[in-house]
Symmetry: C2
Amino acid sequence: SFEFPKATALGNFRPGLDVTIHGFLGKRRDKGSALTFCHVQLGTQNVQVVSSWQEEGSLQHNAHQELKAIPAYSPVCVAGTLQETGKSDNVNAGKTWDLKLRSVQCLNPFPKDIIVSKDAVWPPKSRHLQLRFDPLLQDRLRLRALVAARLSKALRSQKFTQIETPVLFKSTPEGAREFLVPTRRQGYAYALPQSPQQYKQVLMAAGIPRYFQFAKCFRDEDHRADRQPEFTQLDLEMAFASGQHVMKVVERLMNSVFEMLHEDFVPTDFNGTIHPVRKGTSDEPKHRMDVAGNTTDKDTPDAVPGFQKAKPPYSRWSYDYAMSVTGSDKPDLRIQPPHASNIYRVEHLLSKDFVSMITRLEDPIVEACKFRLEGSPHDNGAFIRDFFDNLRNTPQKLGADSTPGVFIFDSSKPLQGLSALGHEGAEGLASIDEQYWQQCEDGDIIMIHARKNEPFRGGSTELGKIRKMIYDTAVEKGCLPKDHSFKFLWVHDFPLFSPTEDDPGQGGAAGFSSTHHPFTAPLTPEDLDLLKTDPLRARADHYDLVLNGVELGGGSRRIHVAEVQEYIMRDILKMTDQGVGQFAHLIEALRAGCPPHAGFAFGFDRLMAVICDVPSVKDVIAFPKSNKGEDLLVGSPTKTTPEQQKTYHLFQKS
Amino acid sequence: SFEFPKATALGNFRPGLDVTIHGFLGKRRDKGSALTFCHVQLGTQNVQVVSSWQEEGSLQHNAHQELKAIPAYSPVCVAGTLQETGKSDNVNAGKTWDLKLRSVQCLNPFPKDIIVSKDAVWPPKSRHLQLRFDPLLQDRLRLRALVAARLSKALRSQKFTQIETPVLFKSTPEGAREFLVPTRRQGYAYALPQSPQQYKQVLMAAGIPRYFQFAKCFRDEDHRADRQPEFTQLDLEMAFASGQHVMKVVERLMNSVFEMLHEDFVPTDFNGTIHPVRKGTSDEPKHRMDVAGNTTDKDTPDAVPGFQKAKPPYSRWSYDYAMSVTGSDKPDLRIQPPHASNIYRVEHLLSKDFVSMITRLEDPIVEACKFRLEGSPHDNGAFIRDFFDNLRNTPQKLGADSTPGVFIFDSSKPLQGLSALGHEGAEGLASIDEQYWQQCEDGDIIMIHARKNEPFRGGSTELGKIRKMIYDTAVEKGCLPKDHSFKFLWVHDFPLFSPTEDDPGQGGAAGFSSTHHPFTAPLTPEDLDLLKTDPLRARADHYDLVLNGVELGGGSRRIHVAEVQEYIMRDILKMTDQGVGQFAHLIEALRAGCPPHAGFAFGFDRLMAVICDVPSVKDVIAFPKSNKGEDLLVGSPTKTTPEQQKTYHLFQKS
């Protein structure tokens, strides 16, 4: 198999032409002993090979025998004559071709011990087979490349310059735990960057007007939901810009991506996943799935409403507003009336008796929200009981502050099923008349939950978590319709600092750390003043972009004045001289006449996961790591050798 | 400085318009007390601000005083009225603008203790200032982004898909020493990839037809000439392709880049560096250099012959041919008649006596080459004496096998100055009549050198090194004209294996290692057969792309059959089971019906350095590392802390 003829370019195909094609052999469909069909596929190109013979020992007969001897899924080189095409199933599809077989060469036989079956799911160790036999995964990787190209183009047209920054960086207390790269000089190490943040700020000080980069970032985190130890950021920064300006640029970027999706892709339902199928190709994934030995359950996957263009400007909610009406700093705007209410404060409607039943907190805030599923009161009662039963069996633990009170509104029952609230409470709740709380109807699920009477902290309240989970579960179980729209939202005005918890933060002695990173600028001069008196109340000029409840990325205006940066590190975060000294390069760069600047970073893997409607970033990464940070295909990380241990001064496991 | 007005888009500029601009203030040129000029620059945008006043206390007067109070180089926000433009010096340039000052706001004063002077060279620690005040460096970064975009576009149009592969990989004996990334699990580590080679081959096995990626690669090398511990590869791979096919694609890529350079850039001489200046911009670097406080020596830099388009197909030389006629596996094709000859074998022309004078080797190969500089015999003699004197003072050591014999052809002397060769030798040498060896003339420098009589190994012969160094020195000293052309060359048919020297190689017991990497396919079935009998004679299907004596990158057809891959690792390289086992993922992927495939990787930094005519890759990287692998701006690598040592199981320096 050293030599084989070149393939004929698809663009030159025309009926009657003698061509050579390369690709992987599909399953053969024999029609008796003298006629057989099979597809040969390469990427999105798909040609049906037709082989027949009339005379034993003829060229056709020999080729036919050769074809039959080649295992399915082998790479082949096939020569033959193009025939008038059959019609494609899909009116949007391009031309399809038949090839009358003249000769075939097997370039590497597919082994017998690998069983390719319908619905085969390959273990992570066999990622090469998953990539090979899952056309949706291949599609997602192709789309990922297209989206990246589209974003790069949009950024270039807005005068952004792509600049690479080092991966071998150094350890700084920016916030997360960093991987180290020890050197041969004992006691010295590089660190892998958690983001290109510091280098990009130096670029701003260096007079680069606008920067972007697809950057690999690294965090040695404990394994939280769907995070990878290495991930890809689309990182950007603008000199002489405010946060407002950056948000507009980001909206334009998203618009550009959704314009492409709208024009070129049809969201199509494959067993519940809304997969973007490219228009006008002869290669619907269904077809390729057949070739790969897999099929969908349905003959023709359903097209669902097309990708709408995202219309800027997006809604903007302050962190406090988002937390109060959705209990989350990344609200899913698809959770809305008539199916679900916002969260409303209700403690003024409720009796102390009832409140004391759901919480032991003194003077709590009590909130309620409401769901209207597509079922009878009885069905909905069963749904919500199931939901809470399952919740107890998942790692998602609810806090101990409050037990959720759950009611089904039912006009056939005393006090409409709300009797536990007492007469006044039931009446009050039933008559709430707010914009995002529709009048109660039979079957409505009402949730009541208490929380501490204190300012919002962190990413969500208990009730916010429950509300999102109920919505997702109801959609998954068909109790609510799947909403195919893409709902963007800006969340802004985050607290500048948060009490230090799990993350190492900046290691200062203040008891709190930067909510995002220590370079975030205070929102207003008033917030800068608050640092002296009540730093936890100071707001940051930080903004998160949220899409359907997923944080796509975040950004901020940065501190561009060296004195302010040092003041926050030294006097507010109470970092040591040594800690502040680790940022000397940045402070020095700010000092050299650094202009005001602001930026943003997309979690590119996450953006792709949302666009592709897949539950995990692993589904949009060619070679993802497991939840334990292992690449099970190659088997990394590996045991170090004594020689490596010596070279890089690593302890040997005893 | 929290708030400042937005800038007016350059596209909206028209005379008489009130606008706001952002940028860095240049040096003020006062014309008396009531009139001053200064530029405000941002990136490649440059506006001249004109400030004058007539009445004390007027708005103009106040603005004028404010302007004068702002230190040069500070970031500013300026408002005023656009005026009829003056003419640009450069007919190719776009519009230039004057702005009649109305108000100015300083956004961060440039400190007094940083002295910006003409020709300032900043230490690596102040890379931010070098980036800020060296417009040629900024230009190179912009051009780097443009070239990357152009290459990506060309690859996409040829149906390549950009796919990211992991940076946290694992240690494998691919050839070079790898950096390790220890995990919190004692004794386990990731390794940083020396290239995406193995993952891209898995992608080929996974049915991806064509892949590319701008990939960060890492090698923990001892510090050789102009190498960085991290560098950027443009990496590509094609399924069902031969090396020939890949070479054509690479030529098309280069063509595309040089087309862009030809159309949009003018190579311009700045103090000896031929810098690509973008056409049709109002921002010639000369001008921006003025603003930055620096100027070139000349008022108007010289334009030199334009970028020619590279015309495929490029010449193709076998490794043996390249080594025999240039003594290098990366020949610089600008070294050519009439200025320099090829290398020719001359031992048949020389007496044993003479040969024994220049070498102690038995039965050596003796070679000669010739230079014709632009000087008198006397000047040339001085040049070559200087050259060898300096050589002794550089790290470039010559081997001990032979002393170069150096002669100046001079018809006024006995035997034309070649008397040391004896009558026959002098005659023979003077009468060589070959295509790349012109008849001797007065002043020609003739070099004679001996080497072992054995097949070529490695990157160059002694004479090849000297020939290249003499050429470069002569051009630098003006003894030869600078050749502004770009001369591409393919070098192919490298030996598959080389004796193991410094690099760790594959750690096999064979005494030799893969010349490039252990995945390179033997050139022909005959070379595969040679593995059994004389593996060091087997040729590889490997090809290097060389431009003006610089290796831009290399590629090969890969082994795509698992049995062959295992055979070479186990039986030829004599790797241990454990060593072979580290490649299990690759062998498993090849086994799963992997198609034939071939690829290429550009050293992207090096490509940019050649295009920009700079001596080091450091000049095309925003944040390069020093020759010791240090980032002197941020001060990496750093000392590890006791906590880090504990977390990642590192030895503490005692």
